[in-house]
Symmetry: C2
Subunit: 232 residues, 2 copies
DNA sequence: CAGTGGTCTAGACCACAAG
DNA sequence: TTGTGGTCTAGACCACTGG
């Protein structure tokens, strides 16, 4: 029993079936939307949505005039769900705690300056904080904020409110990039996160772009045992 | 100058602007699609696509009858691009190498058995392999394949072809989940990956589901220095 | 039950890029 | 130049679910 070819999910299923069964092989050119619509007996719009969805999953390559091809590089595109840290902790049933450790204007090191795309020698707002779960260290946050783009950050009381939360609520969002890695705990990190020096820690480097450029960059270092998940 | 409100990107931009400027605050109910379409002077379809896109980004919650609300939990949904390992290495200009280390039927440990949802005591195909970049160890792969769902795997010559590549090309795809973490290198891992025992390693646990259930699960352990990136 | 989003249709015009 | 995907429209029916 084949799916209903009058629904876009049904069309996607049928196309997927042909991809999996090698009716269409990697690199092959698919029929045009109009042709498929005729074959399936549905509107071109329906075929369009199905193929667009498959393309967004990385299974197809679509280009105007060139047509639709089976992707040669089958990459998967899992979607991460990255919650605000407090919700992540509370969602697991733990009590959330937050402690600002330092807050000052400072000239950023070269790598941070590059990420935020600012001139050398310009001081930025530098915050460090520790997040707790049930009183135990959970994550260490080292953040730089471009106060030229976010002057409002200067008047926020980060002693009470996590920079994370303030930012997600107040930074006009336009994009961001993430890097994930593993590092051995430095002595300072080991002390803050209550672990042994050299122990493997999960790290997220995250830069968030506002409407006028990179607004803030943060390094989040998690206590041992942290796991991040994603799904397709 | 506001964007063209007759395009779905334009409508998305305008809605985004109202979200950022707190015209609509978290938890607020937005006007219906029909109302917005009337206000913007476009078709409801156009509004629908814009709101659907924002909902898929996690900024809105949509439910039939209940309407569209500004998400209370502002989570971001970055999209990972996970390439086939060979393409990842070759894409960086390095020579790719692959060496199968073991291949045998074996009864999986409890955690793997749980991930693949099979009965206790059932033997599965177990593969271990090492992937190289320019002759240096890059990633260690420890994979279990449910041969009940993928009998074809038994006749594949994994000495030559990476299981990764065979699977992405041959497993009817229906979904998967990923977990990312940092671990200290065991003595065996350290030897294989040419690093010091205890050194921090990036690990991906990945389970891929076929049409009839979990088909394969793999633990990918990367040599020190590996970074994974994602973007919004 | 009834309101809201989910989706389909048929037709149309447009933007882009291959040749 | 011309074919292909990208998108808009107006109208319609349906599915889900809150009240």
């Amino acid at each position: 029993m084949t799916a209903d070819l009058n629904t876009w999910q049904g069309v996607r299923g049928e196309v997927l079936r042909r991809l999996n069964s090698r009716v269409w092989e990697p690199g092959d050119l698919l029929p045009t939307e109009a042709a498929l619509a005729a074959e399936f007996g549905c509107a071109r719009t329906t075929v369009n949505r199905a193929l667009r969805d498959l393309a967004s999953s990385g299974l197809l390559d679509r280009r105007r005039k060139a047509g639709t091809r089976v992707a040669l590089n089958p990459t998967r595109h899992p979607v991460l769900r990255i919650p605000v840290i407090r919700q992540e902790i509370e969602g697991r049933g733990h009590a959330y705690g937050y402690a600002l450790r330092s807050r000052r204007m400072a000239v950023p090191p070269a790598d941070m300056r590059a990420r935020l795309d600012v001139e050398p020698g310009v001081p930025l707002l530098h915050l460090t904080a520790l997040h707790h779960a049930d009183g135990k260290p959970y994550m260490y946050e080292d953040r730089w904020i471009n106060t030229a783009l976010l002057p409002a950050a200067l008047s926020v009381d980060f002693d009470v409110l996590g920079a994370n939360e303030w930012l997600v609520a107040n930074v006009p969002f336009s994009g961001g990039d993430f890097r994930f890695m593993a590092t051995g705990a430095s002595r300072a990190e080991a002390e803050m996160l209550a672990c042994a020096p050299g122990e493997a820690l999960f790290v997220i480097d995250r830069t968030t772009h506002g409407d006028h450029g990179p607004a803030t960059t943060a390094r989040l270092t998690f206590a041992p045992g942290y796991r991040m998940s994603a799904q397709i």
